[in-house]
Symmetry: C2
Subunit: 212 residues, 2 copies
């Protein structure tokens, strides 16, 4: 693309660095901003810069926060003894949007994936184990993506917490979110693994009806 203004060209190439945004989309976005008030655009740019420079990560759960401790960890109305282990901040937002979970989180920052060079030390696992040993955690819920890496991570953390390692407290319950046929999904298109698991982990009808 040929630009007659280097200011425009620089703005387009900055936008085009964002994931999933090509040169044409970047140009569309920049030309949109060009039509807005200068104040609105400077507000846009300020909010973005402030977000990056001022955002913090919760010292307890590694979720994004405005302070040292995030609003979920600081909320005494939530069950602090229940920890939901997730891969990323995005998963926290997804679970929060269901408004069905009233515990706390622990953001691992990824899953164990030797092929990508990610071992347990690059993740917030040590801090999770320390947190469980220090706090009176009652339940650990794994909400990781159903991949081999996710399962490996669950296995690793569970081992770390097993009585043999001297870690697990007797009262700690470890669970994982249910795998099965999604609502709106069709049986015939489900993969065999999911279908098999959903048969194995079948539920009594009364509990299914009650949860709806």
């Amino acid at each position: 693309m040929q630009f007659s203004s280097s200011l425009l060209e620089n703005a387009v190439s900055e936008f085009a660095k964002l994931p999933g945004i090509g040169k044409k989309t970047a140009l569309r976005l920049v030309l949109h901003l060009l039509k807005q008030d200068t104040g609105d655009v400077s507000n846009f740019s300020e909010v973005i810069a402030r977000m990056r420079s001022e955002i913090k990560f919760c010292q307890r759960c590694y979720n994004v926060a405005d302070a040292d401790i995030c609003s979920i960890c600081a909320n005494s109305m939530r069950k602090q003894e229940i920890i939901c282990v997730v891969e990323s901040i995005r998963d926290v937002i997804a679970i929060e949007s269901t408004q069905q979970f009233n515990g706390t989180y622990h953001v691992l920052g990824g899953v164990i994936s030797p092929l990508d060079g990610i071992g347990p030390d690059q993740l917030n696992i040590e801090s999770l184990v320390n947190r469980i040993q220090k706090e009176t955690t009652a339940e650990l819920i794994f909400a990781l993506n159903p991949t081999i890496q996710g399962d490996t991570t669950i296995y690793y953390i569970q081992k770390k917490l097993s009585p043999g390692s001297g870690g697990q407290l007797p009262q700690l319950r470890i669970t994982t979110i249910a795998r099965g046929i999604a609502f709106g999904g069709e049986l015939e298109y489900a993969d065999e693994m999911t279908l098999a698991r959903s048969l194995q982990n079948r539920l009594p009808v009364e509990s299914y009806v009650a949860s709806k």
Copy 2:
């Protein structure tokens, strides 16, 4: 969506104001920026803000410019006596990318569209007529989108320049870009209007071969 950080939430809603970007995409972009260096993100935000506050519009052709006159108008290598009339800056970029045009532009800023409340006075038409009368323009090429509004605009400007209005210089040639079957297009899927026009405006084979 539920956010545990208002900094994050504000950044997401700023991105979601952009056209074609929903809340989920906005979140993806913000989380991407969160992973970048603070310096890179502040550079991103600075480039956007500077673009909006410092960009100028060429006083001659209304294209975007870094100075009072854009780089195309200021370029003495380009044929200043040929003016290509386009709707928007985006069209200038599209034509420049072909590297086939060596004249100048005039950006109307839209087309006449009474239904949208856009009359000739809201567009850069007066300045085009003045420009043609002042400069020794040899050719005016209309490169507007083939819509009723585009055709109306061509008709209006042409009328303004016709000898009756005392406007047109005797040597001014007025043309419009060719309508026809696009390269890669298939005859059977072309609409009747385009196919009919492409038959009417058929070209001698030698000129077709020469232009390839």
